[in-house]
Amino acid sequence: MTLLLVILIPLLGAMLPPLMMRWGRGASAGSAILVTLAALGAWGSMVPAALRGEGATFKLPWIPALGLNLSLTLDGLALLFSGLILGIGLLVVLYAKDYLYKSDPMGRFFAYLLLFMGAMLGVVLSANLLLTVVFWELTSITSFLLIGFWGHRADARRGARMALTITGLGGLCFLGGALLLGHLAGTFEIAELTSLRDSTLSHGWYVPALVLILLGAFTKSAQFPFQFWLPQAMAAPTPVSSYLHSATMVKAGVFLIARLHPALGGSEVWFYLVGGVGLATLLVGAFLANLAYDLKGLLAYSTVSHLGLIVALLGIGTQYAVVAAIFHILNHALFKASLFMSAGIVDHQAGTRDLRSLGGLWRLLPFTAPLALIAAAAMAGLPPLNGFLSKELFLEQTLELPFAAGPWWLVPALATLGALLSMGYAVRFGVNTFLGPQPKTFPKPPIEPPWGMRIPVALLVAGCVAIGLLPDLLGAPIVELAAAASSYLEVEGVHFALWHGFTPALLMSGIAIVGGVGLWYLQRWFVPVFDQSIPLPSGERLFRATIAGLVDLSRSAKRAFHPGKLQTAIAWMILSVVLLVGSALLVKLPRWTPSPADIDPSLLGGVALLLLAIGAALYFHRRRAVSLAILGAVGLLLSMGFVYLSAPDLALTQLSVEVSTIVLMLLALHLLPAQSVKERVGLHHLRDGVLALGAAVVVGTLTWLLLIDPPTSATSAYYLAQSKPGGGGTNVVNVILVDFRGFDTFGEVIVLGIAALGVYAMLFGMGLPTRWTRPETPDESAYPLMLGVVARVLLPLALVVGIYLFLRGHNEPGGGFVAGLVFSAAIILQYLASGIGWTQHKMNIPFHPLIALGIFVAGLTGVIAIAFGQPFLRSWFEYYHVPILGEIELASAMAFDLGVTLTVVGGLLMVLVNLSKLPRSTSVRPLTLAEEED
């Protein structure tokens, strides 16, 4: 439980600093310090047990079906890392308090920092691989927020985006690898994965899983070839750099490699891949650090190089190599964090980070300079500091490789070269900044910073010295424990000593130190060469070019499918339907031989009528009013067709929709020319024709196949059987709409409402008049008297018919939708006969509330079902015996139907009435033929 608290305290405590800002920056920083101390306290209470080897564990099932459990453990490796995270975290909070400028939002900064701390703790304490992935992604996101903290700077934004992209992609690979590994091993618990090592290594999926997981680790730890994002991330404030990019976040990748070494390590693939990448990174990073002018850039490349060293050691994988790796993790964190902080002090006090503008600062920063120089010496690996110890161990391990890697001297030589380059840039850092001649002016006159910035550096450097002088006492216990957790081999009896005698490793160290100083002398000649003439392959440029290329590719893809013309988009849709459905049909087409008896003679007349009407509509397609009249006839004949096929509901719906459709089309046609433009026949017409023909064939075949389907198919049999007992109605179509598929209908009703509102929104800015008056010259043809009288008489009759259709819909043809259409038609008739002004004066129906009310009522019916413990939209029905009427049935589906009716009426009327106001709008006038040709 305490383990969980250690993670939760920073995560939840992140809320405190922004809230405390109202009492000032000091209170905010104080709350951040308190939260970190609390987490440290919780952690500290578990340390003694962990050091004895009985680390606390915690397990809570989270999603057992996926194998994801909230499993935490505090073994040696977790202890080391969590100690680093919390300890250095505390120092960074102290440092940041004085570092942040007055204009920086401190509360937000500490919130992000604490969130990151919690996420990082989650990564190292997790004992479940999937849980690690979750926290891994969380660290990527929080680091994105921290790198881009100075959001007004373009380089900060760019660096944050690049870091997120690369670590995000790596996280995706890590997830894939974790899933593969969990699947092949059968579990995601890391302890169990460790015991299954042998079977894992011999599995066919071992290599893909390993490669994917390593990709995740390499991207996070900026290993070659992904090292370019780390220098870009140096745009972050220095506390962030010293915490994330030296001590914790970039170490997450290394942590993962160490954590999974017992589960995945020991194979040849591991050795060559991990070792090779590590060694390459060591050299590349060290080389580039020698060329850097930016203090933080130099340190960034140095971090990359040192991480490469650790990774290479883990790749070698022997007991002492793992010990050396763990020891270097500890040492590197200590000296690198302090180096970043000193660089931050220089930047903060002198105003610049450029080596060409710095020098001789030891006189002006008498407290910071010696500390920085000691830390730089540790980075270079000079005795008697901790860096020397771990570098010696590294060089020693390269002499005994478990697998063949070229001639025996190759890897040690490369390692020595790496150490040489390290010495070179360490000298560059220390000497060029603090020693040597002072430049004429600094951007700011450098003085020592506040104590809050100096104490953390002092503490960390003291740690470097202490471990260097007393490694066995201070370093060995924790390193032994952590290394034991990182290796599948037995690790015990770890001893460190400054003096081992005249070993080959000592010789290599000596060569490195001397050579490094020499390199420093040569720097003034070869560094400018790389600056001006030899362009190095820049990972950053490649990254940006790739992203730009991807954006261009997606833009041109979009242009191909969606150039803004409706015809192109529809053509693509129809083509896809033809290809997909057509290919499926070709597979399933049954054999059918037509026989004369199959064709009903009475059908021939109707089909002939229909085809004639459609042909006429096509023939007259350019004369809009004429084709509309013919289409009215087509609709009527289609309804007859529905009647022939025994579909009375469909016939009713089609007939009532016809009315509204004709009115809608005519409202639009009033503003368009009577004839459409005569197009010149071109090649694209041939393409369109073929496409249309193909679609017709496919859809026709599909319809025909559905029609010859025997009526006793399973689905229809189910609906027919269940309609009365399950739904309480004998009209199967209606019961399907409001009961079986009620959720569908609910969605469609909402879509109808949205469509109506969309039309309203489109018309909203077109200057429709709000008050409506009769036309200036009312004449007989505007509001014919006969029509008015008939309309008035018809209104109550139509409303009664509508109510009748509504009420009987459940058991007989009818239903809410048809009723709504009938109501709308009756009301539209009033508008038609007497005009908008008169009708709205007499009957001011609010359309928006009506639509909303309809959807609300439909939804309420569903929600009430939940109140009774049933699923959403489960309908209820009951039969009641009423004295005169006999037995009647009440069903909740009727309320749902009511909602549908209200929405239909509201939506349809809104569209039609607003469209009819368009001719009087101030900004729209009818289109002439000449304008339409454009």
């Binding site: 006839a633 007939l655 009115v663």
Partner: protein
């Protein structure tokens, strides 16, 4: 008796629909076409009634009712359009 009557009735209605369709396609002016459409609607009512008698069911009565009640709205709208006015004003 009834089947013979029904056959004659169906044929008559069919012929009438063909003639109305002829006028719909042929009619020189929009007015002729509007009248043809109206006639077609009335014929549809007759057809539905005959179908109901043939099937001995009253299932399609409401469909005929709807055509009768609302069919003329389409005719009126098209007429207003033919005159040159907006349908609803």
């Amino acid at each position: 008796m009834i089947p013979i009557a029904l056959t004659i009735g169906f044929s008559a209605v069919m012929v009438s629909m063909f003639m109305a369709l002829f006028r719909l396609i042929r009619g020189p002016r929009l007015v002729d076409r509007i009248l043809a459409l109206d006639t077609l609607s009335i014929n549809a009512i007759a057809l539905l009634m005959l179908v109901g008698i043939y099937l001995r069911s009253d299932m399609f009565f409401e469909a005929a009712l709807l055509i009768a009640m609302l069919g003329f709205v389409g005719t009126v709208s098209l007429s207003k359009h033919a005159v040159g006015r907006s349908v609803i004003e």
